[in-house]
Symmetry: C2
Subunit: 255 residues, 2 copies
C-alpha cells in the first residue's frame, strides 16, 4: 500500500522542479513501463489499477523477478498520479541516469535546438533511436527529456538514449574542433539529395517556428534543405528530423 506521503511525493513528480530535485521521473503506459524495466534504468516502483492486471501480466512478472516493488491502487488514486486523462492503468517510476560526457567516438550526434513541444521532442527521440542515433544533445530552451509527455511520445526510446541537456553552442564549437562537422537544416541550404555527410557529424534540428539559432547558423559547416513545392510553409520539425536522420542512416553514417 502507498502511504499518503508517498502519494504526495509521486504526484509531485508531474512537476519539473521536483523531478530535478529527486532525480526521479514517471513513465506512463504499458509499452513505456515495459521498455523501462527492460532497460539499464533503475525502476523504483510500479503502480497499477486492478483492472489493468490482465494487460500487464508480463510486466508484473518481469518486475517481480527483478525485485521491483509493485503496488495496486484504486482508479481514483491512479487518476491523481497520472499525467494523461485516458490512462492505461500503469505508471512506472524510474531514476534518471547519471550524465556522462558526450561519446566523441559516435559518428552522429543529434543536437536539438529549442524543441519546446513535448510531443515533437518525444517523437524525435523515438526516430533517432530507430536509426541508432542514441547520443542526443539538447539546447537550453528544449523541453526536458524526462517530462511525462516526452517519455510517452518516445514510446520507450527515452530508455535507450544518452541525453545531454542544456548544451550551449560553445560546447558544440568544442566538439567541432575535435573533428565534428556541424550541419543545420535551413530553407536556404543545399539540396539534401546532394548532401554527403562527413565522417563525424553533428546534425542540428531546429524548431520550425524559431528557425536556427543565429550563433548556430554561423558555426555550421554545412546547410541542407528538404526540397518541396511552393505553397506549404514548413514541415513539422519531427517529420523534417525523420527525413534528415533517414538520409544520414542511408548514406551509412552511424552504421
Amino acid at each position: 500500500m502507498l502511504s499518503a506521503n508517498e502519494f504526495k511525493h509521486l504526484s509531485a513528480l508531474k512537476v519539473k522542479k521536483y523531478r530535478e530535485e529527486t532525480r526521479l521521473f514517471m513513465a506512463e503506459g504499458i509499452k513505456q513501463v515495459d521498455e523501462g524495466i527492460k532497460s539499464r534504468y533503475h525502476c523504483d516502483l510500479i503502480v497499477f489499477r486492478s483492472d489493468a492486471r490482465d494487460d500487464i501480466k508480463e510486466t508484473l512478472h518481469i518486475a517481480s523477478k527483478k525485485g521491483i516493488r509493485c503496488e495496486e491502487v484504486r482508479a481514483k488514486e491512479l487518476e491523481r498520479l497520472a499525467d494523461t486523462v485516458h490512462t492505461q492503468g500503469v505508471i512506472g517510476y524510474f531514476r534518471m541516469p547519471q550524465t556522462h560526457a558526450v561519446d566523441t567516438n559516435s559518428p552522429v550526434l543529434v543536437y536539438l535546438d529549442r524543441i519546446n513541444d513535448p510531443g515533437n521532442l518525444g517523437t524525435m527521440i523515438r526516430t533517432a533511436d530507430w536509426f541508432g542515433f542514441r547520443d542526443i544533445l539538447l539546447s537550453p530552451g528544449c523541453v526536458e527529456v524526462f517530462n511525462p509527455k516526452v517519455v510517452r511520445a518516445s514510446m520507450g526510446s527515452v530508455f535507450r538514449g544518452s541525453f545531454h541537456q542544456e548544451v550551449e553552442v560553445d560546447e558544440l564549437a568544442e566538439l567541432q574542433k575535435a573533428g565534428y562537422s556541424v550541419v543545420t537544416t535551413e530553407l536556404e541550404g543545399s539540396e539534401l539529395k546532394k548532401y554527403k555527410p562527413a565522417e563525424k557529424t553533428i546534425v542540428v534540428l531546429s524548431s520550425e517556428s524559431h528557425g536556427v539559432l543565429p550563433e548556430l547558423a554561423s558555426l555550421a559547416d554545412g546547410r541542407v534543405k528538404i526540397p518541396g513545392v511552393k505553397g506549404a510553409e514548413s514541415l513539422n520539425v519531427a517529420v523534417a528530423a525523420g527525413i534528415i536522420l533517414h538520409k544520414l542512416f542511408e548514406t551509412g553514417t552511424g552504421k
Copy 2:
C-alpha cells in the same frame, strides 16, 4: 453580434455529426484562418476576441475586402466556441468543398489507412502538401479531415488538398486497373533505397499500431520498408510518411 442561436450552432460544430449535416467546419488559430481565407474554400464567418485584434489585423483586412462577416466576441464566449484550451483568439468557419472524382492524371495518390490520431493525420496532410501531393484518399476508420484537431495540425494545408473520404479497398483496385501501382510500407518490404516508383503510384500509409489492412497487403504491387537498427519497435506514422513521400518527391514522381 452573434445571437444565442448562432452560438449554439457554432458550438455544435465541434461535433462530427453536426459538421457532416451542415457541411461546415471550424479552423482555429491565426495561421489556419489566414490560409483558409486565401484558399478556394468559402469562409462564412470569423469570430475573434478583442485582445487578438492586433495580431489579426491583416486577416481582418483581407476578410473585409472579401466581404467575410467578422464578429468580435468576449473571451468567455470564444472559449466556449474554441476546441483548444489556449486559443489564439480567432476562429474561422468554412464550408466543406464538394467532393470531386479522384484525379487520375495525378502521378501520386496518397492513401491513408486507418489513421485515427488527429495530430498524425493533420501532420501527414501538411507533409503531403509540402511535397505537392494534394490528392489524399482516406480509408474508413481514418479521423475525419475536418475535425478541428486535424485542421489545426495541418497548419492550413487542409485548405490546399483534395480529399476523398471513406475510400474502400475495391476503389483502389479500380484505380490499380486504371494504371496505378500500389505500394505499401511494411516491415518485410524491400529497402526504400532500392525502390523505383512507377509512373503512377498509390502510396499506402498505415498506422503503426494497426499495420497494413490484409486486403490492402494482398492488393499491393510493391512493399517498401524504412531501414533502421534493432531495438526501436516502430516509427511514428507521420514520420514514416515524411520519409516515404520525400523519397517519391526526390525520385521525381509528382514533379
